[in-house]
Symmetry: D2
Subunit: 343 residues, 4 copies
Amino acid sequence: MMIVMKAGATQAEIDSVIHRIQSAGAVAHPSRGEEVTVIGAIGDREHVARLELEGAPGVAQVVPILKPYKLASSQVRAGERTVVDVEGRKIGGEHFSLIAGPCTVESRDQTLTTARTVAAAGASLFRGGAYKPRTSPYAFQGLGQEGLRLLAEAKAETGLPIVTELMDARDLEAVVEVADVIQVGARNMQNYPLLAEVGRAGKPVMIKRGLSSTLEELLMAAEYVLKEGNPNVLLCERGIRTFETAYRFTLDLTAIPVLKELSHLPVIVDPSHAAGRRALVTPLSLAAAAAGADGIIVEVHPNPDEAICDGPQQLYADQFAEYAEQVERAAAVAGKVLASAHA
Amino acid sequence: MMIVMKAGATQAEIDSVIHRIQSAGAVAHPSRGEEVTVIGAIGDREHVARLELEGAPGVAQVVPILKPYKLASSQVRAGERTVVDVEGRKIGGEHFSLIAGPCTVESRDQTLTTARTVAAAGASLFRGGAYKPRTSPYAFQGLGQEGLRLLAEAKAETGLPIVTELMDARDLEAVVEVADVIQVGARNMQNYPLLAEVGRAGKPVMIKRGLSSTLEELLMAAEYVLKEGNPNVLLCERGIRTFETAYRFTLDLTAIPVLKELSHLPVIVDPSHAAGRRALVTPLSLAAAAAGADGIIVEVHPNPDEAICDGPQQLYADQFAEYAEQVERAAAVAGKVLASAHA
Amino acid sequence: MMIVMKAGATQAEIDSVIHRIQSAGAVAHPSRGEEVTVIGAIGDREHVARLELEGAPGVAQVVPILKPYKLASSQVRAGERTVVDVEGRKIGGEHFSLIAGPCTVESRDQTLTTARTVAAAGASLFRGGAYKPRTSPYAFQGLGQEGLRLLAEAKAETGLPIVTELMDARDLEAVVEVADVIQVGARNMQNYPLLAEVGRAGKPVMIKRGLSSTLEELLMAAEYVLKEGNPNVLLCERGIRTFETAYRFTLDLTAIPVLKELSHLPVIVDPSHAAGRRALVTPLSLAAAAAGADGIIVEVHPNPDEAICDGPQQLYADQFAEYAEQVERAAAVAGKVLASAHA
Amino acid sequence: MMIVMKAGATQAEIDSVIHRIQSAGAVAHPSRGEEVTVIGAIGDREHVARLELEGAPGVAQVVPILKPYKLASSQVRAGERTVVDVEGRKIGGEHFSLIAGPCTVESRDQTLTTARTVAAAGASLFRGGAYKPRTSPYAFQGLGQEGLRLLAEAKAETGLPIVTELMDARDLEAVVEVADVIQVGARNMQNYPLLAEVGRAGKPVMIKRGLSSTLEELLMAAEYVLKEGNPNVLLCERGIRTFETAYRFTLDLTAIPVLKELSHLPVIVDPSHAAGRRALVTPLSLAAAAAGADGIIVEVHPNPDEAICDGPQQLYADQFAEYAEQVERAAAVAGKVLASAHA
């Protein structure tokens, strides 16, 4: 950590900062420039992090040098990338995963039809929501346990592993029984008790980036899971909130190469929630795949016009095979191979 | 809800939209302009809300007319404002509340000293965190139950009602025993199971606006609580995330008059977390009070330089009386009277 | 335009709105719902646009129905796409353009070397700045007229048409003499006198999206040029400003499909300025091409480490051929063919 | 400037950075931590600024230490604040200025009526637009020279100095003849040739913050003016662009105390353009004054409902005296005295 003193900082203020660094058990390296003095604080990450010298007398700026996450960082694995194995389907490395399914589990027929369709088109995993976080308390909140049962049936029939969301730590046991990947939604990205719970649950976890979370905060959320001993974390970019109102969210594809620099964890992209409209899903999926994403999680429905939620953004199931084929070609540009169900 | 059709929409597409509106049990009012056709969908709020016509063939735009919240809206109380009574201290209406205390409960001495100081200076309620949401899993996470015990002691001694945060529904019982106002933090603003729980807990609730939540989303979070039968909700603006990096968050004071137009609920402002630096807390507090806020929640510490967390933004306890006096004058400009402890 | 009245609007307020619509020469279509009244204002785009009924007594919301741009809209060309012909190189439609060159013209050698390299690798046009908008008044501001002369020499030798920026209407004559495409920078996107001037200059114009401009504002900027009788406008996405600090700007690739829905004009992407770092330029270029961009404008330098400005984001000239080949493959996924210099 | 090397940076990469710092004429101070090496580059501001080491091999991060502006910085005046004298009216220091007038000069009657009203209520200066930057090329663009003539007449009658906007350097001569303060609009904040021109014009200049400009960029715009020898610059906060759609812009009042820390220049706030609606103008004005702004620039019209532009945000002239009195009280809370016309 570097502490930049104000131009007019007094010697007493400089000494006081040095003293606080030393009291925290770290070593202070002052270097006096012509205009300002900069003090390096070197020592144990945790102690230094607790210094909180911002706003102290004479301090102009505190510049962190080390990243606040450790287990999620590239360094910890010396550049080697994590490949998560989900019931034999590999995510990460050179493997490209297509995770597809309806926004919400609505009925047996809708669930099984979709599962069969995406399995046939080469999807790697099946997604579907049993518990749905809804902005409105009046909106459909998901089928809950009945939804989980239908997902289990879809897996039994197609062999596709299941990705489904956990919203409440009290549902953990029920979700763990069915889910092969536990999804933590964007609105819960900083629900720390929930993150710690899924860290202890022993199943791979996909964490969606919060609507206005920085990449550093996303990696800190991953750190909460990793710290509990669960190494199988997938990061998911799903669009951020900006000033632009022409689309629901702004998909941030720069996050893909940057997360891969900062971390060893696989990066998945969700174009459906970002776009909010079917017509944008294909171009954004191709872009994500070409940019080097490790996978895409996309919504598909046999009859989106009658979907209970998010119909406008769900792909038509009967167009999914063509979509999958295009995405596969885009992933190939980035040197990736689709890790499909029939592989 | 108005459905704006594309310029080139066919009659079949228009008919299909009308048909879907009618199937949902609503009435369709098409009006044909020279360039485009607009179809009004009039009926029950919930049914109309579920239409999801965005992206349907021929549809250019879907414009909601009614607000998605109802219990939180100004209309429901015909312009009358909610005044929340917390153990005899009134929040809302012409009453201005000063809620003060340390970021975190650290020790008996720190807690009681601060409580005595802010009580003497005229604070209305005492705040302090026992459970702390921290970006880093390595940071201090609060004293938990021991922290709650110290808050209870502070109340016993000073008579100040307690505001404290609940992060995990599983801690509800313990928190309810001590808290007079349950705080839901910004990161949990869309933690819907938690909102529903505090809605059922029967204590006033203060909901902090999420870092990138719209006012509409904040009011929808309030709706989750109100829907459970709890009418005592306080809304709290605490800074939003923008492109500006010169300060931690951008305090959005326009939210004050706008929330008061949209809703009958009191609006509190938290300048401490928005600013992140002590030097900005006073000017932002004065601004919030002058803009008509119903109260301020502010952090105070006897020795901020040694605070375990957020030291740089906590006011010095020995400067608090002067601060309170200035804020009182600013609130008077907006026609408000400090509802202080010695009132 | 739809005017949504407040729930409690009086008959007099409704009548007053209707009266103002009629005074403006438009027709009012009121429709009375159970909770609110909505009034359609139908008539000439300009008159209706000037109504300014926001905030009028009893008015809750004013919802524009027609887009404020006309010449830039898809409708005006009935779905046909504009293909801009720049000295025989086609931009738009199925043609993919690679526009490459140094950030700034620094010297004869640097300019000609880069031009030869990118021409050999299949670039369609040559870019280079003679006038540079710099945040700091102390920074290098470009070679000016001498820079233009060097660009002319590069064109003479390689045959590549020239794209260069105009910052000041008073330099128009000099720039027009050399430029085949006049670039209007992001910071000048709403410099309306400049836009009108380039509209009259009779050369194709590339308008970069402002750092926080909506797509609608970008299309309004295009409308300023089109209105002067110049049909050859290229739109350029170059990254927007968001809360994320891990990169300079957030490249908004959703803008590609959406601009193509809204407008008939070609869409170019500038990954260099968005990313600010070389390592991100290739993945973002591939993403843009796969998402259906009509071209990429990218910075290349023979020796970026010694570039006068923006060195860190310029590609190494000796790696450009490989880059071009990859981008060509990504464009093919979106059904586009590189319109290269040797075509 | 501090250069933070990557954890795995080689000695050769470290040496190369040191070499480049030295070649630029600066001194390199490497300090080797356990995990990373940090290199300080100390020397002349301009040389160091041109280093552009971001993205160089082995470099993780480049941290600027010195601010890129100099003449605009607090340091240059050793903490003394600039007070701008406009025809005897003082702006800055303990003086609070109320700058009022119509959005646009529409007619002789409208202009003179408004000028008389605001002068009588104690305004310090008169504002009015003769040249209007409009998003739409079809909108009213201002009366131009005729508008300037009417402003001159208003000044002759009321004695109020004139604030008016310059959009095009080619109109400078005409504007300078009438304006006592030249306004540079938000959309032109980074129009560098225009800034340099007004810097040479010898009249006070008010620069509005761009819609998504950082405070640092605003101060760099001021630096362009100051560098030309013009010391009389006013900074104006007028709302920034955020994700929130409930209001036109988000007024950023944190900018007031922070600009005053960073710079010696006076800070004016424009609540009218930020809010876009009359009902929000008063609370935001009171907030700005209480937060310590040096003045407010506000729009007033004798009959806003018939204003040619921005009617909904203009105050009713007959309510202005009451408004001015309230703002005066809020300014007093911050220790400021209204520098009114009748003082």
